[in-house]
Subunit: 493 residues, 2 copies
């Protein structure tokens, strides 16, 4: 017997369509009931996994990517859930903010699905979503005023210095005291996470969701392989339909000492096979300070085909060009130390240096992620808890973001001078040259022949843009103020 | 027939003894007359080469290293100069400033021959000795007030931006207009250079004398191999007896494109064979900004046995520890960019950064060299011409020198935190931890068990030393002011 919903459903393109069906509650439905659906548009079929949401509720979610009429049919090991058919009318986005999910574009860059360029300007608040309602709301208010359009955050809670509080809920059923049931999830936790993801989406923020990390007192970092995979499949079924999700396999994967490289390969393949939308996938390394200044020893190979972009922890942004050439993928420096005054060495950059990291990375055609680690009387530190931003780099980062969004995608440029400048551009058209803490009094440039250029002097710290007098062509001498944190923006007239 | 000086000569230990003899002027005495002498002390014989000083004057120089009575006898292809015998009484130094030449000591460090530690605090004025009397005197006055005890300087003049003036004299006979005689020298030039070396010695400054370099319009960088060797032998015969000389085979050897690695090997061996005193020998690389952030690609192998210490150009002092472990020799960063505001990328560091380079290198048990490149209305720039110092790093460098001279020789220490600190010390006894531009609000230290320590907080930029209250032992929390450029000096009580 085939059950058919007579009325078609509706969903906007790239929004989440959710089908909620009653089903059996006996046994362990998470494990025992297999559910999926096929959504068909013309000859194109997308298979999505369903999941059990507790209390006899089974859910199928789908993010339609084409406008028009889709048909669907469920499959299940349980007759009650099997063979259910319906129609989904996918309509055009009604919100100007709905550009679809972010994809790799032009090899080294990102765009939304509708073609709008996306310049990731990330921040880091690993466990903001485990802090309880009050602090979480404060974090969202802070994010609404900040320039960040990507946030790194963890499914599992964080155990570390300044992170001793016990969260209320966990991805798995159970607690630290009572133990966890590695075969059952806690739907309340997941629904709360989903609300948080939607709140981020309303703010235009991509969730760089970290699936595993080593800072753990609960056992989530050392589950058996079948639990890892079981968890991944559940997360994929619940979350893949969120258009603002990116899969970050790990924060500091190489500190998860019980996992092998083949485990990470398997996780990537599971995600690749079960995410119908092929959201961005990456993995983030630890940064061993003993080998701090070499470029990429001991990393997961970002060249593997299932890695969509390199998510790198490294304190030296000068490697961005090398990594671009090595991986030929977008380079996102997801950790380059944080602005703050923390006792830990990775957490006491000046604001000037944090902003400098952004400029150095981005002028080379890479992307950089912010974090903040100021000591706080109640131990609420943005890097992990969210809360309020206390630093001074967010404003110059916002200024940089506006400059990036005004210009073209940057490639590393040979026009300039790695001695004291990070430079990128579009050959013959546009150059951005950033001098960092160096402070030349002038610079001799050799601009491409046959064109005239105008040049803006940008004080990246004072956040001012001053057009230089005249037009520039060929070999020319460009005056500079001889103070740190200056940049030149050179545009073909 | 043997001629004997009946009266013994006298010279202080490590001073220069000079024997001046009349001889033939016909032909090309530089080339045609071979002259040497053997100085004997007990069973020990030191052979030194003589040289022709023009106008029929032949000279033998010797730096005695043992107190007592030395005999000597000359050998020559010319009968007139052959078999001359005499006695040299070597007396104890009368000047407290005469500690002898500098040697490698304790693998990674330097001492004078009398055992006094020498901590190189170098500066760079490549062509100060080619600028004419007035500017040269100004340079010497500047040096007399500066903290530097080593200077990098070239035998050959410099052709480069800001270096267009024609010198008065050259090592070889001739001029740019008339051409050079590659078989004859200009003794006036050499005597002037020797006066300069003696003036430096009076100021307690070691002359890191650069024998070849690429910045050339005269042809000195592309002489035939026999001219290279001929010049080296002449320089060795004249200058080896100067106790403050170090042989730097090149500034940026790898920009001398016509020379091969085997040429540099040969030069090292010539110096090794013909310098009776085995002064320090090194070779200095260019720093290709394209491969800027890798550690030592394309370098001359400082591990070769004739290299006494590594003379490195590199902008990243964090490699010092790696180079120490690689070469097991003293590491001298003889160029890490210069304080100034020059258009060139290697010449526009802030003074803070120049001082930071010194601290980063020295806290790891390496040594660092200063340079200064401020634009100047008459184009007189310390880095090349000498003159006056206009920067602000010399004073904090002097402060660092005093701290180094108060403490023991440093080895890279594992006590700390490459993330944000360069740290060195003597295990269990003494530690110097430098935080650079990072600014932790406190630091947890684990000091060795069984001992108590006192800790000084050093503001390396404000040049203040503040003892912290109390004694420290074992695991302890050390308060810090949360501002850049702080260091801790930890001394066993």
């Amino acid at each position: 017997m085939t059950r058919i919903w007579s009325e078609p459903f509706e969903a906007e393109q790239w929004n989440r369509f959710e089908l909620r069906i009653e089903g059996p509650q006996d046994g362990n439905p998470y494990k025992e009931v297999v559910l999926s659906a096929e959504f068909q548009f013309g000859h194109r079929i997308i298979k999505v996994d369903g999941f059990y949401d507790g209390e006899g509720q089974y859910v199928i979610r789908f993010m339609p990517d084409y406008i028009g009429s889709w048909s669907f049919i469920t499959s299940s090991s349980t007759a009650q859930l099997d063979g259910l058919q319906g129609t989904l009318i996918c309509t055009a986005p009604t919100s100007a903010d709905n550009h679809g999910p972010v994809k790799v574009d032009q090899i080294y860059h990102f765009s939304y699905a509708d073609g709008t360029p996306f310049y990731p300007v990330g921040t880091t608040a690993y466990a903001w979503n485990h802090q309880g309602e009050k602090l979480e709301q404060q974090t969202l208010r802070s994010l609404s005023k900040a320039p960040f359009n990507k946030i790194r955050m963890c499914v599992f809670p964080k155990h570390y210095d300044y992170n001793a509080a016990e969260p209320e809920q966990f991805a798995f059923a159970g607690s630290l005291q009572q133990g966890f049931n590695w075969e059952a999830f806690n739907p309340d936790f997941w629904r709360r996470l989903e609300t948080q993801l939607d709140q981020l989406q309303l703010l235009g923020i991509e969730a760089d969701l970290i699936l595993f990390h080593p800072y753990d007192r609960w056992g989530f970092s050392r589950m058996a392989a079948e639990s890892d995979d079981y968890y991944l499949r559940y997360a994929l079924a619940r979350l893949a339909s969120f258009r603002n999700i990116w899969w970050s396999l790990a924060n500091e994967y190489d500190l998860l000492f019980e996992k092998k490289m083949t485990d990470w390969d398997r996780f990537f393949r599971i995600i690749q096979e079960h995410d119908p939308y092929q959201h961005l996938r990456s993995i983030h390394n630890w940064h061993n300070p003993e080998i701090h200044y070499r470029s990429n020893l001991h990393w997961y190979d970002h060249g593997k085909p299932w890695v969509t972009h390199a998510s790198i922890q490294h304190a030296d942004l000068n490697f961005v060009t090398e990594w671009r050439e090595l991986y030929r993928k977008p380079i996102v420096i997801d950790e380059c130390r944080y602005e703050g005054n923390l006792n830990h060495g990775w957490g006491n950059l000046t604001a000037e240096r944090m902003a400098q990291c952004f400029w150095e990375g981005m002028a080379q055609g890479g992307y950089v992620t912010h974090g903040e680690t100021y000591l706080h009387p109640e131990g609420i530190i943005w890097w992990s808890h969210g809360g309020e931003l206390h630093g001074s780099s967010a404003e110059p980062i916002a200024f940089l973001r506006s400059i990036m969004e005004q210009g073209p995608r940057l490639d590393t440029s040979r026009i300039n001078f790695k001695w004291d400048a990070s430079a990128g551009g579009v050959e013959g058209e546009y150059y951005l040259i950033y001098f960092g803490a160096s402070r030349p009094a002038f610079r001799d440039l050799t601009l491409p022949e046959g064109a005239k250029f105008r040049i803006d002097l940008i004080d990246t710290w004072a956040m001012s843009i001053s057009p230089l007098d005249g037009e520039f062509a060929g070999a020319c001498k460009v005056p500079l103020p001889g103070i740190p944190y200056q940049a030149l923006r050179i545009s073909k007239i």
